[in-house]
Point group: C2
Chain length 343, copies 2
DNA sequence: ACAATCGGCGTTCGCGCTAAAGTAGAATAA
DNA sequence: TTATTCTACTTTAGCGCGAACGCCGATTGT
């Protein structure tokens, strides 16, 4: 087995607790003893057994994260950034994916709780709040991200999605577009809020917002390209068709642009597009894609700080952190590719 | 606190061990008692405390995974697939990212071991084998993936990268190309093996393989586009320049194609390209990109099965599982985009 | 009839660690 | 002096579980 406190204590002729105290930086140990213990720990390459520590102390220095889809660049980047913050503070990340399935999500919540995570960060794929009631009677604090439940008093970290909808739409308006459509998502707070932002912007500029210009689909995250393609075909049949489209995400935009080009129209001359997410490859697409960047790395960092705070002090009143997003303009809206690739 | 075995035992007037035995499906419990216990477990929504179980039994039903980069689609997809397999078998996934930094990797190995993972799966970013010596004296079995150390007798799961190099190069040869270059990676086994496959294919077809046609760079994973761009500019200065290029990955290919187009050449008429990884967006790029698909989901599944096997039976002699890859041809090599998007 | 067996359950112990409560001796205070 | 307070430790008592073993009454075999 690995080295235990007991081994170090035996070697040095002190008690296990003394060694444990040195490990945790407890004040009431003499300088002499502390040095001897630390020296021996290094020599033996001691690593504390977190299970034992967790059992005894109730803290595991582990944060749980549940995302709907690991492959999605947004969640992957968030997880990466979060993991970086946790690592510098000696915490581990226990990561699970719910595959956009509420049943799986529930199971993963159980799994993580049974592993004793100190905090649970979750982008829930649920419509209702069932799973969180179950969380309620536990001691583990949780932190929602990306997807919020307005009626649940919970900690939250995410983009300001109303603002996302506003700046994306405003960008199209600023380019002189008048008939702006929206291909949106369904059933999640970002989808809802971006739609609201879209409407806000149209209203603020006295532009019409015909109801058939705003369409909403499910599964925009997994198969956005197909959905964008179909949705755009639908929008193209309207008369007049839109001259600009704000898409829920980049994949949707890619599909929508595809449909537009196949219909013999030009992008952005006939129809301009903007997506969300600022995909890594946005600049290398057939039509380089304008997009709203969510500053995901910063989001992950903030979530990490917040989570660590919650793990030392779980009893805080609910707090929301919203980060601002910004538009990255490329050919799909402004028509000329910038000299330098923009990220 | 959460429900414990003790609570159930008290409620039913039996001993804790009896309840524990029911939980684990131990044979020597009467049908009557078993039913009562299971019923009460459901009522109280009992979840075993994995830390306690881990301490007492030495098994945690947790698999650790360390990848160099979570955001990389290959690793993300692998992790997703692996996590799926583990979930169906009641195992959890403890995920860490080494950020391509051997120091971080070492720290993450320690972290995961101190959490008592039953198996450690790792795509190491190390050149030497230092970290694994440390692993050696522990009891935890480990499973390398993607990146192998030929001189280390270890379990391995990954693509057959020699074959990857061969089929990619053969694809270009089959299209009639004669001057085939390779923009490769550096310092990892896939980079080395793909280069070997490339050479094999050229040799088997009696084609020349000038040494300055095979270039190798580091950091191809993180900033492949930039590297591909620069590498291609270099290759274009040769005389004669190549008429086809096999790129280490898709991002490199994207950069290389960019350089080619900027030089006023046509893809694939003047130069054909093939990458590796079969990026989700490969079909939507300026030039839809031909690529080698690694069947990552299957790879993750196999790794999951292997890991579970190792966790129940750690003392196996080293075994390697290599999965075959296949070419997905798109415009960057064959010149015409297929009707249906191919994935 | 009596040992041998077996199904069904309980007891004991300890995994590696920490929180809390000692304790012995030295220093300080009244 | 004698009580008080520190300092630097040690002892005790679990955290929630599982492995190993123990035990008791009922059945079986001869």
């Amino acid at each position: 087995m690995a080295v235990r406190l007991k081994d170090i204590a035996r070697d040095l002729g002190v008690s296990v607790v003394t060694v444990s105290k040195v490990l945790r930086g407890n004040a009431d140990i003499g300088e002499e003893t502390r040095k001897r213990v630390l020296k021996r720990m290094k020599e033996l390459n001691y690593q504390p057994n977190m299970m034992a520590r967790g059992l005894a102390s109730g803290r595991t220095f582990t944060v749980g994260l549940i995302v709907p889809d690991l492959v999605h660049p947004f969640f992957a980047e968030f997880a990466k950034s979060l993991g970086g913050v946790l690592r510098t503070r000696q915490n581990a990340l226990l990561l699970a994916s719910s595959e956009e399935d509420p049943e799986v999500e529930l199971q993963e919540i159980r799994t993580l709780l049974s592993r004793g995570v100190d905090v649970l960060i979750i982008a829930s794929c649920q419509a209702n709040l069932r799973n969180f009631y179950e969380l309620g009677d536990k001691r583990t604090p949780y932190l929602l991200f990306d997807r919020n439940f307005p009626h649940l008093a919970a900690h939250f970290v995410g983009s300001d999605d109303v603002q996302v909808g506003e700046i994306a739409t405003q960008h199209l308006i600023d380019l002189g577009r008048k008939r702006i459509a929206h291909i949106g998502g369904k059933g999640t707070s970002p989808a809802f809020d971006r739609l609201r932002g879209y409407r806000n912007a149209l209203h603020a500029n006295n532009l019409p917002s015909p109801t058939n210009y705003a369409v909403a689909y499910e599964k925009t995250e997994e198969s956005g390209d197909t959905i964008g393609f179909q949705a755009m075909q639908q929008l193209l049949r309207l008369s007049p068709p839109p001259d600009a489209v704000f898409c829920y995400n980049d994949l949707t935009a890619i599909g929508a642009i595809d449909a537009t080009l196949q219909a013999g129209l030009r992008v952005p001359e006939d129809i301009a597009f903007i997506g969300c997410g600022n995909l890594r490859y946005a600049n290398y697409l057939r039509v380089p894609l304008s997009s709203v960047d969510h500053n995901t790395t910063e989001l992950g960092r903030l979530a990490g700080e917040f989570a660590l705070e919650l793990s030392t002090d779980p009893e805080q009143s609910p707090r929301s952190i919203l980060t601002p997003s910004h538009v990255v303009a490329r050919a799909s809206s402004i028509g000329t590719t910038p000299e330098k690739p923009t990220r």
